[in-house]
């Protein structure tokens, strides 16, 4: 793998816990790699798997999904839905030939700035290890994958 590969990671955060954890990492000057770009949603339950697909197919090498800890969701229980969707999503990715470990779910409370920064660091290194994502559609348009599958059936 090339040494100068810098992975690009999209991170989804919830407004109440993990985005605030990112704020806190900042306030605490906790350094982490600049490879991650965060997107704020109100809740991890807002995470439409399409967003992850979009990120991965458009150039991200990994996606980090973050939310409140189970049982601490601002919206009572919606992070459990995020959890289930993430599991399904990973399975789907695997079936598409994409390493499901490129998607990672991390729970971080508003107080866990240090923890979130550490987890981001770990994930960036994990993705760096895996190398650039060779998303099928980047070589061929998505349609051709479908056609290929149809042929093979």
């Amino acid at each position: 793998m090339t040494n100068n590969f810098e992975p690009l990671i999209i991170g989804f955060t919830c407004n109440w816990c993990s985005y605030r954890a990112a704020d806190m990492a900042g306030t605490g000057r906790e350094k982490y790699p600049p490879n991650i770009r965060l997107i704020r949603m109100m809740c991890s339950g807002r995470l439409d798997p399409m967003f992850v697909m979009k990120a991965l197919s458009d150039g991200a090498d990994g996606v980090m999904i973050t939310g409140c800890h189970p049982g601490e969701c601002h919206y009572l229980e919606q992070n459990y839905k995020a959890l289930r969707r993430t599991i399904l999503l990973k399975r789907t990715l695997g079936q598409m030939g994409v390493d499901p470990e490129r998607v990672k779910l991390v729970w971080a409370s508003a107080a866990e700035g240090v923890y979130l920064a550490k987890e981001i660091g770990i994930f960036v290194e994990e993705i760096r290890e895996k190398g650039p994502l060779d998303w099928p559609s980047r070589k061929n348009p998505a349609i051709s994958i479908v056609e290929k599958e149809e042929v093979s059936v």
Partner: protein, 673 residues
């Protein structure tokens, strides 16, 4: 949604990059970011881009205002600190310039870039991509109006313990109406069962009953005892509550509370509720003499009339014909603006620790049994005696932390047991002169005058043994132990295993969430911690609010507390409610979901996802609808809708997808294979 503030035509975006002194500019080349945005993002609609020392200063805000007017900007992106800090500030600037404030978007290049990144080049690149994300996103912003809800000035308080009583009086005294709902026949809660209160040793009844009568007589308080909330609908400002007023078999309007029915009732049963199984009551009863309200309740399970169809002694003797055997439960519907839950706690069931022998050995008592035992209105009129009802104990062991600080049971400290156990030691000392051993893990006497009380009990000669009691048995190993209860523990300070023979053991059982706290939380749309206590909006800065607007919590329902803390929380919750009532209406963030009826296929996938019950299926139209006032804006349904029929304002698919694309504008990925 269209109004005068809707921008017309193409987006005209202004980008503002803040230096934040050197906080951002020290790491990020802000000038480069601003220039790059003006150049590279102009196709998207950026018409100007500036960098500025402090965007949040009045000068910075005025800059935005004048640019909006001068350059006809209809969207603004500020790359500065976290939106949680200054989003309101910049939205305000936009609004003052006549723009809808929701056309403003922030990129947090301080918290997410300059403060957390060492490499300046990479920091600048990340900032650029974040600005690109924000610019891409802001294109899809819509004009929004804050949601305003009127606040109904009536309040529902659930739970008539000391916290609920305090809250009710505070609100009622400001002239607003209160419904106080209590499940038991009388208000007063656990405090009414106590004899003395620590550390002042005030008689519990003496300080509580005046408050109770005040509640009973207050013109603004509708007291509903022997009642339970059945259903809650609606949202902050406007809750529809259904209350079941259980049948007492007593006509309240006619009852004078004279007590002749209780006197004449021939059936005496063990009182498992107020009397915690150690006292007795009649089949028609008031739980205690000073009960508020003072009209009795008929216990149908034990009443001879309900069992055999005869007796009717109570009815015969009632001078006002207030007994009504046919009385049915009554359903009461009320509309309230706010709700305070002060539902209290349960006690740990000591039978879960068979090694302590509660239920096996008669002279092992729980703390609440002992409270009743030493209470002047209790079964022994306050005399401290063994279970035989006669013998005074010569030696007493008091066991702290029963069921608390124990991973096998409750893994938290119950907060009150140390002081309660010290109080017991004092009472036993004062009334019996018995030898007292207190077994503790740690003594926690943190509040005002608590440690002074500990000193006093030490001075009285109570013997403290630092060690969690291992077991209590009546099987003797030597003569001194014959006929005694033996408390076996490691005296961790002396470093030896000890067996201490005593006559009586008092188990200071811990506090637990109410058995039905999960259901109650669900009913009111709030959450419980894994332990089962209600979760505060913020444990430190907002301890009496919940994540659900208009629902407040007070007292032990949120965790173990002593009386002063419960009273403070009652007042605090009342203050929050009063301020809402005074405001008259509440502005809510317009982040909401709504259904596009034409696209909705009626599949109902979203129907079960909402914890706030905001999603309703309209049978006639076979489509789903979302109640805007109930919706809290989490967006879970938006993500779930397979037809894409649900849109979420502020966080629409277009906005997020556009932001992703923007963030992908990246310079650091080298073109290598």
């Amino acid at each position: 949604m269209a109004n005068s503030k809707t921008p017309s035509g193409k987006p005209r975006i202004g980008v503002y990059v803040c230096h934040c002194g050197t906080n951002i500019a020290g790491v990020v080349d802000v000038e480069d970011v601003a220039n790059w945005s003006a150049e590279e993002l102009k196709d998207i609609g950026v018409v100007l881009s500036r960098d500025n020392k402090f965007m949040c200063s009045s000068q910075g805000q005025e800059l935005i205002e004048s640019d909006i007017k001068e350059f006809g900007l209809n969207r603004v992106v500020v790359a500065a600190c976290s939106p949680h800090l200054h989003e309101k500030t910049f939205r305000g600037a936009c609004e003052r310039a006549g723009m809808n404030p929701f056309f403003c978007e922030m990129a947090s290049i301080r918290e997410q870039v300059s403060w957390v990144t060492k490499d300046k080049k990479k920091a600048t690149e990340k900032s650029k991509s974040m600005v690109a994300g924000a610019v891409n996103r802001v294109v899809y912003h819509e004009a929004l109006e804050p949601i305003k809800v009127p606040i109904n000035p009536t309040t529902l308080i659930v739970g008539g313990g000391i916290a609920g009583i305090q809250a009710a009086l505070e609100i009622a005294n400001t002239g607003h109406e209160v419904y106080l709902v209590e499940r038991e026949p009388s208000i007063g809660g656990h405090m009414a069962q106590f004899d003395k209160t620590f550390p002042t040793l005030d008689c519990s009844a003496c300080i509580l009953t005046p408050r109770m009568s005040e509640v009973g007589m207050h013109p603004n308080i509708n007291l509903l005892t022997w009642s339970e909330v059945e259903n809650v609908d609606g949202f902050v400002g406007n809750f529809d509550v259904t209350i079941r007023k259980k049948s007492r078999c007593v006509i309240e309007e006619d009852c004078t509370g004279c007590g002749i029915c209780v006197q004449k009732c021939p059936i005496t049963v063990i009182d498992d509720e107020f009397g915690v199984g150690i006292g007795t009551r009649k089949a028609i009863y008031t739980p205690f003499d000073q009960a508020i309200p003072n009209y009795p309740v008929l216990d149908k399970e034990n009443c001879t009339y309900f069992i055999k169809g005869t007796c009717r002694a109570c009815e015969k003797f009632c001078a006002t014909n207030a007994i009504d055997f046919e009385q049915q439960d009554e359903i009461i519907n009320v509309t309230v603006g706010n709700i305070i839950l002060a539902t209290g706690y349960d006690l740990f069931d000591a039978r879960k620790m068979p090694n302590y022998g509660y239920g096996r050995y008669p002279n092992v008592f729980t703390s609440m049994e002992f409270e009743r035992l030493c209470n002047a209105a209790g079964p022994t009129n306050g005399e401290i005696v063994l279970r035989d009802g006669v013998t005074a104990p010569k030696s007493v062991a008091i066991v702290h932390c029963v069921g608390s600080r124990d991973k096998n049971h409750n893994n938290y400290c119950s907060a009150i047991c140390c002081m309660q156990s010290l109080k017991f030691a004092h009472i036993v000392y004062e009334r019996t002169g018995a030898e007292i051993h207190n077994f503790y893990i740690d003594i926690r006497t943190t509040a005002k005058n608590y440690d002074e009380f500990y000193q006093r009990v030490l001075d009285e000669g109570t013997l403290f043994v630092r060690g969690k009691v291992a077991e209590i048995t009546d099987v003797p190993q030597n003569e001194a132990e014959e006929g005694k209860l033996i408390v076996q523990a490691e005296d961790t300070l002396a470093g030896l295993q000890r067996r201490i023979p005593v006559d009586m053991v008092i188990l200071s059982v811990g506090l637990e969430p109410k058995g039905d706290s999960d259901e109650v939380a669900h009913q009111f749309g709030i959450s419980c911690s894994s332990n089962g206590w209600f979760t505060e909006k913020h444990p430190k800065l907002d301890p009496v609010s919940t994540m659900t607007e208009g629902i407040f919590i007070a007292g032990c329902a949120t965790g173990p507390k002593d009386i002063p803390a419960s009273v403070s929380q009652g007042s605090a919750a009342a203050a929050r409610v009063i301020s809402y009532i005074e405001m008259g209406e509440l502005e809510l963030e317009p982040v909401r979901a709504s259904v596009i009826e034409e696209i909705c296929s009626g599949c109902k996938i979203c129907n079960d996802l909402c914890p706030y019950n905001a999603i309703i299926f309209i049978e006639d139209k076979q489509v789903t609808e979302i109640n805007e006032a109930l919706c809290q804006g989490c967006g879970t349904c938006v993500a779930a809708c397979p037809a894409g029929a649900i849109v979420g304002t502020g966080f629409s698919n277009e906005q997020i997808l556009a932001q992703i694309e923007g963030l992908m504008m990246d310079f650091s990925v080298p073109e290598v294979v």
